[in-house]
Every structure is written in C-alpha cells, then in structure tokens.
C-alpha cells in the first residue's frame, strides 16, 4: 500500500481509531495484522519472506542469549547474517552478479528474473540490527514472537524506513499509548506536509527529470543542469515526504520514529550532509560497519579504507548497479578528501565562519551533492556518460525544459521551511504559529495536495531499494 493512495487514506484512520479502542495488551495483534495487510496489499506472497526473516531472527536471538559459548554465539549471528543477506542477495543482487560474470567470463548464464520485494533492504537491515545488538549484548532477546514480529513489520516504517533499532521502537509499541490531541495533531501535520512534499514537489518534478534522463541527447547543457538541480529536490521531496508520512502515521499512535532528514541541503560540509541525509541508514553503517572496523581512532590510511568501505557498501545497498557503486565510491573519496583537508589544512573554516562564508559553503556542498546524484539517477554507464558529456557543453541557446509554476512554488515552500526549521521538526515548529495561520497553512497544504498534485503514477523512489 502506498502512502499516497486512497487505500491508505482509509486505512490509517481506521487503524488509528481501532488502536485506541483496543485494550493495550491486544494492540500488538491489531498492529501486526494491519501491518501484514499493509505489506500484502502489493504482492501477498512476499509477506512470507518477512515472516521467515522474523521467525529466524527471533529464534536465533533467543538461542544466542541462552548460549554461553562465544563460538556458538558467533555461529548463530553468522547464520542470521547469512540467511538475511542471502535472501537480500538472491532477490536484489543475483542478476547483477550474473551479468558481471557473463561480462567478465564471456559466459551466458541466465537471469533469475525475480521481482524485488518492496522494502527488503530496509527490513533486512532492521532485523539484522536486532540480532547484532543481541549478539553484542546491547539488548535482551525478545521472548514474545508477536511483539518481535511487530517490530519487524510495523507498517509506517516497513518499506522505506527509517531503519529503527529494537531498543528505540519495541518499547514504544508495548507501552500503553494514550489518545491525545497533541499526538494526533502532530501526526496529522507530519502526514500533511509529507504528502505535500511528495505529491506536489517530487511528483511534479519527476516527469521532467525522467524525460531528461531517458534521452539526455535531446536536451542542451542548461536543461541537463536544470534536470540535475531538479532531481536533487525530487529525491529529497520523495524520500523526506515518505519519512514524514511514516513519522506522522506512527505519531498518531504515540510512537516517535527516528528523524531521517534534518535539512540536508543546508549542510556546510560533506560530513555534515551525511549526518543530515538518510540518518537512519548512516547510523546503521556507523554502528555495524564503521565502528567495528575501528572507527576514526585509527591511522588516517586505515580510516580512509574504513570510510571507503562504508560508502561503497552504502552505494551497493541502494541498488545492484555499477552506477550506485560509483556514487558510493565518489562520496567516499570526497569524504576522505574533506577529512584530509580538515586534518592537514591550516585554517580552512569548516566549523565557524561568517554568514556569507556559510552561505558559500552551503552552495558548494549543494553543488557537489547535485553532481553526485547524477550517477545515482543514471540508469547505466552510457546514460551517465551522456549526462556528463552533455553537462560539459553549455550552448548559447536557452533552456528547452519547462517546469510548471506550482512545482517552483512547492520548491520555495520546502526551502523556506528548511531555512526556518533550524533543527526543529515541522510539527513542533507549527506549535509556535498562531492558530489562524496554522489553519491557513493546513488549508493551503490540503488544497495543494488535492488540486495540484501530479496526475502521474509516480512510485516512491526508495521503494526500489
């Protein structure tokens, strides 16, 4: 079920209503059934994979906790890793590797051709974080299969995150959440703004970006540059919109999900950008890859290797394509370069500086980010080459790409909101407004969503991951 669908518009109020009517001890059953229904709306059969992953990790974690032998524990956690990553590999990466083998070895192995189950990368990482935490002794193994199953499949964040930790989410799902106006209104605000950003900004930009990437040679350099700029906001609107609806849906039931974005395009450095963009994935890689590799308390050369590894894996997590690897590698190198400059450079003002200098830094980081989205969005190498080649030439003729005024207006709304938020969440920021102004904004957002949304069927970008 998509958040921007009629089904979800009916589903969410019904679930939230039923949630508060149910006795606390039975709520997990309601949410579990609702979450499975939510997931099975797309292709019911893939719920089996979630169920397998759930039962397996639940059982392995219990065995791990009971076991006193480190080797046995290691074997159990390895089994969890092998099973979860094996499933992920089979569905997501097998055909990519078959292609690579065919290309390198001149063989003609056939594709598996399996459909990628929605959200497999997200719930796999979420369950893995649980078994790794149990293995490390950071959390106690969950004894109740139902409660654990709900942690894995909790519908607001199931298919595109945020990737939650067991210690953060599970307790919130168990406590007696009381119906409050504050929770409902804050949830409503997040859902409303999230849908606006997704449906009016991202979905309105999508056809223009898609058209350019589908045939870069049909557009001049200025238009390609504009398409790259637009994509920066399409993916931001798309993913942030989804995350806000996820947070809002959970908030209606009293659950606070992790914030996934904190005004990333206002970052003044690459490191800062990665602390503000897809935060839950960044934290996952930090805690389960970067820190176990030694973190930053190692020699610079080792640190560089660790950073590269994290970014390449992150690129690979996004998709089975060399362009994603190039994207991850590129970010890794830029990150290392910035670290190197920060370490060796005498007084490069990365931390403090005047407002105008900050503005320049923000623009530079945004420009780098925009350029880095090119390999991310390109469908393959030849597409990437056409985009980069086209960008290198700026003819004298004007743009041949037109964007509707409403998309520009939505972009301005998002930029102003980001500028004004200053680290706050939008729902909290709205508390500071006067009631008439707040209702005016509700009305404007609602009108925007209903009347000015794109009429095209644009799926959430991160569903493919």
């Amino acid at each position: 079920m998509q958040f921007n669908s009629a089904e979800f518009l009916l589903f969410l109020p019904l679930v939230v209503g039923a949630y508060y009517l149910f006795p606390t001890r039975f709520r997990w059953i309601l949410l579990l059934l609702a979450s499975y229904l939510f997931y099975m709306w797309w292709k019911p059969v893939f719920a089996v994979l979630v169920a397998i992953s759930t039962v397996l990790d639940w059982g392995l974690a219990l065995l791990m906790e009971k076991s006193n032998h480190p080797n046995r524990k290691l074997a159990l956690v390895s089994l969890s890793l092998f099973a979860n990553l094996g499933m992920l590999f089979s569905f997501k990466y097998a055909d990519f590797f078959i292609d690579t083998i065919n290309f390198m070895g001149g063989t003609d192995l056939g594709h598996l051709g399996w459909i990628l189950p929605v959200g497999i990368s997200f719930y796999t990482f979420q369950t893995l974080s649980y078994t790794l935490d149990v293995y490390a002794g950071n959390v106690k193994a969950e004894r109740h299969l139902g409660h654990f199953a709900l942690f894995v499949i909790y519908f607001p964040q199931l298919v595109a995150g945020p990737i939650e930790r067991y210690s953060d989410l599970a307790p919130q799902l168990r406590v007696n959440q009381v119906l409050t106006y504050r929770n409902l209104s804050h949830g409503f605000r997040l859902v409303l703004f999230g849908l606006f950003v997704k449906m009016v900004l991202a979905d309105r930009l999508a056809p223009h970006v898609d058209a350019v990437y589908a045939d870069p040679s049909a557009y001049n350099g200025w238009s390609l540059a504009l398409a790259c700029f637009l994509y920066s906001f399409q993916i931001y609107g798309d993913f942030m919109g989804y995350s806000l609806v996820a947070m809002g849906s959970a908030k209606c039931m009293g659950v606070d999900l992790m914030e996934n974005f904190k005004q990333p395009y206002l970052s003044r450095s690459i490191a800062e950008f990665w602390q503000r963009w897809h935060i839950s994935l960044g934290k996952w890689f930090r805690d389960y890859v970067f820190l176990p590799l030694g973190g930053s308390r190692v020699a610079f050369s080792r640190l560089a290797v660790n950073i590269l590894m994290v970014f390449v894996l992150s690129g690979f997590w996004h998709g089975a394509n060399w362009t994603f690897l190039a994207w991850g590698l590129g970010w890794g190198l830029l990150y290392i370069l910035e670290k190197a400059i920060g370490s060796w450079g005498p007084s490069i003002p990365m931390i403090s500086g005047s407002r105008s200098l900050n503005g320049i830094r923000i623009l530079v980081v945004f420009a780098i980010t925009t350029l880095m989205w090119i390999p991310f969005r390109s469908m393959n190498w030849s597409n990437l080459k056409l985009m980069v080649g086209g960008l290198a030439s700026f003819p004298s003729d004007c743009l041949n790409l037109e964007v509707e005024w409403i998309a520009w207006l939505a972009l301005a709304v998002v930029l102003i909101a980001d500028w004004q938020l200053q680290g706050r969440r939008i729902d909290v920021w709205m508390d500071a407004w006067s009631a008439p102004f707040r209702w005016l904004v509700y009305a404007a957002l609602t009108y925007g969503i209903v009347v000015f949304s794109s009429q095209e069927d644009v799926a959430f970008i991160y569903f493919q991951f």
């Binding site: 669908s5 119906l179 409050t180 609602t446 209903v450 009429q455």
Partner: protein, 498 residues
C-alpha cells in the same frame, strides 16, 4: 474527555475547512478542468433543457469522405423533430458505465424529457471491456464521478481509476477469450474464442490466395468482436445498464436504448449464419431484458446493409450518411410515440443523380470543416466560414463522383459571398479530384480575379471547366483555400454542375 472534546471540535473545524476548499475549487478550477477532460461538459449542464438528449460514442459523429451531408445521428434525429430541442453528447469509446456518469451530472431539478442512449453490442466483448484505451477513458471520467467536486479531484489525484497497463489489458482480454464459453454448437465446434481463433490462424497460415487470406484475417476480427455470450450475473456492462435504467427511473426520464446496427451481412459472409445468429441472440436477449424493465429498446442490429459501414476491414459502428440517416429515422419512429405531433418526415438521402448543392453554413447541412464556421460575420443567418491563419481550408464540399449526375460533369459553377478586409491574402477557390485510376488533380483560381472590393459582402461566381480525365475520378472536393495569415469569410455556397 477533554481530549476527546478537543479532537471532535478540531475534526469539525477540519470538515468545515474541507467544505470551504470544495467551494473554492468548484469556483476557481473545476469548471476549466472538467471541460478539459470532457469537452461536452457544458452540454451536460444544458441537457436539462433538452426535449431529447442523445448520448453516443463515435458512431454518432463519424462520417465518410463521400457523404454529402456529414451531420451526426443526433442532428439527423433533430430534423425529424424540428420543434423540439435535441442535444447530442458524444464520447468516443464510451459505454453504459460512462453514460451513467454523464447523466448523473445533469443538474437536479432539470430534466430532459427523453434520453436516447447508444447501446453498442460490441461494448460487451472482452476486446472492448478490456480495451487498451479503457484506462485513459476511465481517468477522464473521474471528474464526472459522484460526490463533491473536491472529492472527485481527490479521487483523480489518488488515481482511483483503472490503471492497468496495455499489457495488463491484453492479458485480461486473452484470458477472457480462453475462459468465456461459447454456445455448444456440436462436438467439433470450438469451446471458446481462443480455440476458434487458433483454427482460423491455422487456415490463414495455409491460405495462399490473398483475397481469401484477407477475408480470414477479417474473420478473426469479427470473431473477437462478436463471439461472446453475455453473462447476466457478472458482466460489468449489464451492471452499468441496470444502473442507467435505475437512474432514469429515479429521475423520471423516458429512456430509449438505441441498439446500434452491426454488419451482420458481413458476419454472414464470413461465417455463414453461426456468428450472425449469436449476435442476434445477444441483441434479442438485451432487447427482451430491458423491454421487460420498461425501457424502449430500438433493436437496429440488422437494419443496415454492408455498404453502409465505413470500415470494411475492421469492426466498427461507423456509418455513411445513409446509415446515419436511417438510424436516426428508426430511433425517431420510436420517439414518435412520445411526440406524435412533433414528428416530421425528414428529407431523405438521395442515392445519386445530383447536380446542385447549397450550404448556408448555419449547421443545417454539414460538410467537412464545419468547425471553421464563426458568428464573427455572416451574409445570411448568423454564421460564415472563416478561412486563413490556422484554418487554411474553408467548409469543404466533398462527394463521390458516382453520386453526381453523370450527364453534368463538364463544368461546375460555384457561387458564394465573400468578405475580405483587404487584398493582402492569397485566398483561392480550389478544385480537387482523386481516385484509384487517375492521378491526384488540383486547380485553384484566386478570388481576387473576381472581386477587389473590400470590407463588404460581395457575390462571387466562378465557372470552372473540369479536367478531361475528371470522369474517371472517385472523389471530388471544392473549397476556399487561404494559406495566408489574413482571414477572409465565405457564406452561402451554391455549387452547380453542368
């Protein structure tokens, strides 16, 4: 309790906000958006004023190049009831489900006296039910759905319409052909369309005679369009038609179902009587079912001969002028029971031997390019044809040579009234002929040769001698051609062959 009170109060406030937004959208944007999706929206709003409301698909308005009069079925129908107001609403590829939506949008309190709805037998076939263009049409009709206008827009935004891809639609069609049973015609007979089609495909493969091969291919089209039995319990069109009947009963409208002619003659030629009888049995069943519900059903299935069908290598309900006139007349005879004193016999189709043609561009006689008619100025009545700029071709007289008096083909005299603001245009009277046995012929005479008077209506008479090979041509056209940006106006044509 206080929390609940706050939630209830704010929910009420939100509902009020939605009501205001609904009003705002209905005032600001809905009219333009709905007209873009459905150009005949204004006609729906005026339909309550009509005595006869005619709803049709492409059969209503499609005409042949050789038709003298290109009027639609509902316009021919109007001529049988000159004292009544007839409004025609056309939506290509529409079916009963779409007509229900159209009728639901007629403002309450206003009622057309009679509603004539086209009932297309082919619309029951899987090929139409799962047509590849069905999703696009469904999308267009969302704004005509029920409920407040903001709700309809939300349904459009949330894509609450058939969103199947072309591949999905094709799969559904093929599945229906494989699973929907045909009548039991004997042990050797095919059980479903898929089996029947496979038999024909084998024959096509083996056939070496191009004519017979072409006929076999045409047979597969007929098979796929008409070989079905209507499942009364689950067929979506039956549900739509029942809803249509229910709506008309509820609002007190006299409903007439116009069961359109199909080319049964061709079906008999291709399949002897097997397929044609199946078509007749389906049509009879529909007729009986809806007559039983008190609806006036005009069953025209067998009413037109093969030559009335414009598409000879495909299955459509597109009729030539004679066909459209006949359909209109037969429907009018049914409506005559409601309006006995208003009915008139209309000028009937003349098969040939004609030499004189007139048109005052007021809409009484429809030639090609009628959309160039404007009320900007006129010599007589209220309209003339504006030529120039985006529309370089005036209202165009078109005819097959076989329809003309063969003794009067040596020359033609064209008289008309011309209005020109200045002489900076390139308007010319054009004569065009073409055919299988002659090469394309075109000639033009500048109107400036006949008059240089400006800013007034001026009579122009052009005499033109036909080409020697003219009598071998199949099709002839006469029109005013003006490729320049500056427009001229023409009115009151008289074309006389001599």
């Amino acid at each position: 309790m206080k929390q609940l009170q706050t939630i209830a109060f704010k929910s009420g406030l939100f509902a009020l906000m939605l009501l205001s937004l609904n009003f705002l959208y209905g005032w600001l944007q809905f009219p333009a958006e709905v007209k873009e999706a459905f150009p005949d929206w204004d006609k729906i709003q005026q339909a309550g004023e009509a005595d006869i409301l005619y709803l049709g698909e492409s059969s209503n308005v499609t005409y042949g190049d050789l038709d003298f009069d290109k009027s639609s079925i509902h316009e021919f129908l109007q001529r049988h009831f000159p004292g009544l107001q007839t409004i025609g609403i056309t939506q290509a590829a529409a079916h009963a489900g779409h007509y229900v939506k159209i009728l639901q949008n007629i403002p309450c309190g206003k009622s057309p006296k009679s509603v004539v709805v086209t009932l297309n037998l082919r619309s029951f076939s899987p090929q139409w039910v799962f047509a590849k263009q069905a999703p696009a049409l469904d999308k267009k009709m969302v704004l005509l759905g029920q409920g407040p206008v903001l709700w309809r827009k939300l349904m459009l935004t949330l894509r609450q319409y058939n969103r199947n891809s072309e591949a999905d639609q094709l799969e559904l069609t093929q599945n229906a052909w494989k699973t929907e049973p045909l009548p039991d015609w004997g042990a050797q007979s095919p059980r479903n369309v898929h089996q029947w089609d496979s038999i024909l495909a084998l024959k096509i493969k083996k056939e070496t005679n191009p004519d017979r091969k072409r006929k076999l291919v045409l047979a597969t089209h007929y098979l796929k369009a008409y070989a079905f039995q209507i499942d009364t319990l689950s067929h979506p069109r039956i549900a739509d038609l029942d809803a249509l009947v229910g709506l008309c009963n509820e609002r007190g409208w006299n409903l007439t179902l116009n069961l359109l002619p199909e080319n049964t003659q061709k079906a008999e030629e291709l399949f002897r009587d097997t397929l044609a009888n199946l078509m007749r049995s389906n049509a009879d069943w529909l007729t009986r079912r809806y007559r039983h519900k008190g609806v006036d059903v005009v069953n025209l299935l067998d009413s037109l001969p093969n030559e009335c069908f414009l598409d000879q290598d495909w299955t459509t309900e597109h009729y030539n002028e004679f066909g459209r006139r006949k359909v209109a007349r037969l429907v009018s005879l049914s409506l005559k029971r409601q309006y006995p004193s208003a009915w008139r016999e209309s000028l009937q189709f003349e098969q040939g031997g004609l030499s004189r043609f007139t048109n005052d561009f007021e809409g009484g006689t429809k030639w090609s390019q009628m959309h160039t008619c404007t009320t900007q100025r006129s010599h007589s009545g209220s309209m003339s044809s504006m030529v120039g700029g985006k529309e370089p071709f005036s209202v165009t007289w078109t005819s097959g040579l076989d329809k003309l008096d063969s003794t009067k083909l040596d020359s033609v005299e064209v008289s008309f009234w011309l209005y020109q603001d200045a002489l900076d245009h390139a308007a010319a009277i054009a004569f065009e002929a073409s055919g299988d046995s002659v090469s394309y012929m075109w000639d033009s005479l500048s109107v400036k040769r006949f008059t240089n008077r400006t800013s007034q209506w001026v009579p122009v008479k052009v005499a033109w001698k036909t080409w020697p090979e003219f009598k071998q041509a199949d099709l002839m056209k006469i029109y005013l051609y003006n490729p320049s940006a500056k427009a001229v106006w023409v009115d009151d044509w008289i074309i006389q062959f001599k």
